[in-house]
Subunit: 408 residues, 2 copies
């Protein structure tokens, strides 16, 4: 048995439990001073304070009196894509219109083209580099969506890459099928046929290969209507894929209401979520997965996080890492934004980026808190306390990242 | 003679010249493809494209086909301070008022107390760590202000630390005297006496010891009025200190107008700068040193950068690194904000964080562009082009930082 003792922890800060926290309890975390964590075979075996009497033969990782938290959980990323789209920023700043950018070969379709023409190996290498970087910032569990393939072959390719990464990379990578990211150019005049393809061809194949846990849909004015989204998510349920939904990012067309009605595990974005959406999510037990770095990048308003917490909707926060609206993979920036823009407390923010993120991807029994029986996923921070990692902007404060008891 | 060849540069992007760029020329940069830079004894000796025939015996640094720019210049920091103030963020988010925070020992006075009680060595070690980190993000020249001592002994101590750092650390560190940062608690009922102290006791000592180039003043409703600021800056001029001025950060009380009238080398913040301030700066040849990360941290609006460029005021951008309003020392985040919030083009932003920053601290003859005769200060970026470093948020893209021809 491999024993690892993380000792000399100045402040251990963690939410507790195996389900998402909501309402007041979102901000209830445990704080231990002068603490230690014993990890056996990658799992947390014991947590205590003062002197640890049970660590004989353990490898010791000295936390140097610093802050330790659970590894961060990034519960919403579009990890698998070909190319980047930096040229669009330059074009926009030089005055190009949306249409001119489209005509210059830009926009989401350009990512679809690049993703389709990339090999599995190319996509894997690129995503693995991103995972390495995420881990360096303190993330130890990631959700990853398909959704730039938009054809059976290429959606399956993306999900296969996610599966391979989960097996080969130290990061836990949880897969979401998102064939309904948008209607690709070739189906522009027959969206019903594309939806049929998603539900009747892609989903059975995804189920057969067992390569996704969730089904996500982009419910928005220009992509899928509320009723189309319902149809797609209900089809997903038939194939064992739990529903997630991109809702109320730009316009509120009913996505968050649908999330509650259909019992989605989480609803994403929610930038312009109306009160009836919050009420429906509260009723349906939906986790709000908020993506503040996307608001930042788009120059949009920020989701009404406080209203959600007040209504008893558990709030998770993630990066939304993607090459269009959010080329940011750093959860520390998400932490900053949670405090500065959502005005959540440091305790609420910590819960949002650990336990609630884990619950949003059905991993809260394994990760998201420092508790006996969960994985030994920890971050030692170059920080004396929790406030400090919320306050410092732009520095990488993750000093040592530990995944299943191993420094990564 | 030590020769260093930076070869295989995919894109070399640099402004040119030895003075700040203003108006349209702010966005005029030189782009070379397949380029190289030859550095001899720390100075740029030759710049070219294709094969370099003049590099016999040179150490070769392979840029791997990536982007190379001048080292970044952070022209506005409050580098020297004791303590941090993360607890105030936590208190605020838990609902504490400004007064409650003051009563809990918070606010700028707490930084003054911590700075006064710190030794030179403690301040130097702390600042050196910050400089290391800044350099890791691509900054090779920094301005640093005193201004948390607010007593002759402690202002001189801070400036001595800056001098030591400039001599001992690879970073070029340029000193600004800012005794007029605020009126310290002990002079609350006799501000005239504090101003007398700044002008008649601190300034002569600063001049005698030759430890500052500039004099800065915080011209704001709660600190120093326009007329007090004028008096202080005019006194500084007598002692050979070129004027800088914190103006229009929260309220426009005439600081930017004064900047133009007095011929300040730069005016700082300018968040709410009125048209007459821009006109005065244009007339007086003042560089606008904008601090977008402070707007971000404060949740304030962003300075009217485009209006300044249009009016022919050269725009520089810096971090404002300090423990209160901006605990951010990362110039890459400033680059992001320049594009996303000021809507400056990537070319204008590059000029703002290199040549115009250098000009704002009277260093444009030495640094701020990749040109023969300037210091060999370069950044090799993990980036194919200029747009990409503007577009990616939250990742450290500085791959290799070179100061006077040496990898740091």
């Amino acid at each position: 048995m491999k024993k690892v003792l993380v000792s000399n922890i100045g402040m251990l800060a963690t939410p507790k439990g195996s389900a998402a926290k909501c309402g007041k309890s979102q901000g209830e975390i445990e704080i231990l001073r002068d603490a230690w964590v014993l990890i056996e075979d990658g799992m947390i075996a014991k947590v205590g304070t003062g002197k640890c009497e049970c660590a004989e033969g353990a490898e010791v990782i000295d936390a140097g009196g610093k802050l330790v938290t659970p590894g961060l959980v990034d519960a919403h990323t579009h990890l698998i894509f070909g190319g980047w789209r930096q040229n669009e920023l330059g074009l926009k700043l030089h005055g190009a219109t949306y249409l001119e950018i489209q005509n210059a070969g830009g926009g989401i379709q350009s990512t679809t083209n690049a993703t389709r023409s990339a090999t599995e190996e190319e996509l894997r290498d690129k995503a693995a580099k991103a995972l390495d970087e995420m881990m360096g910032f303190g993330t130890t569990t990631v959700e990853a969506k398909s959704g730039y393939g938009l054809a059976t072959e290429h959606e399956l390719k993306a999900l296969q890459v996610i599966k391979d990464l989960d097996e080969q990379h130290p990061m836990d990578v949880v897969a979401t099928f998102m064939g309904a990211h948008l209607v690709p150019a070739e189906y522009k005049n027959d969206r019903a046929e594309y939806i049929r393809l998603v539900c009747e061809e892609m989903m059975p194949a995804v189920k057969e290969q067992g390569i996704a846990k969730f089904c996500d849909v982009f419910c928005e004015a220009d992509t899928f209507t509320m009723e189309e989204s319902r149809k797609i998510l209900e089809a997903g349920l038939k194939y064992g894929l739990r529903p997630k939904i991109h809702a109320d990012e730009i316009e509120a067309i009913g996505g968050s209401v649908l999330a509650g009605e259909i019992g989605a595990i989480s609803s994403e974005h929610l930038i312009v979520c109306p009160p009836e959406g919050i009420a429906s999510m509260a009723k349906g037990g939906v986790i709000a997965c908020l993506l503040p770095a996307t608001s930042f990048n788009l120059g949009a308003v920020f989701a009404p996080a406080r209203d959600m917490v007040n209504a008893g909707v558990p709030v998770a926060m993630a990066t939304d890492f993607n090459p269009g609206s959010c080329p940011c993979l750093n959860m520390q920036f998400v932490i900053n934004l949670g405090c500065l823009k959502y005005k959540l407390t440091p305790e609420e923010v910590l819960t949002a980026v650990t336990l609630n993120g884990a619950a949003a991807i059905d991993m809260a029994d394994k990760v998201g808190s420092v508790e006996v029986g969960k994985q030994g996923d920890l971050v030692i921070w170059e920080s004396p306390d929790l406030d400090y990692i919320c306050y410092r902007v732009g520095s990488n404060l993750a000093k040592t990242v530990i995944k299943k008891g191993v420094i990564v």
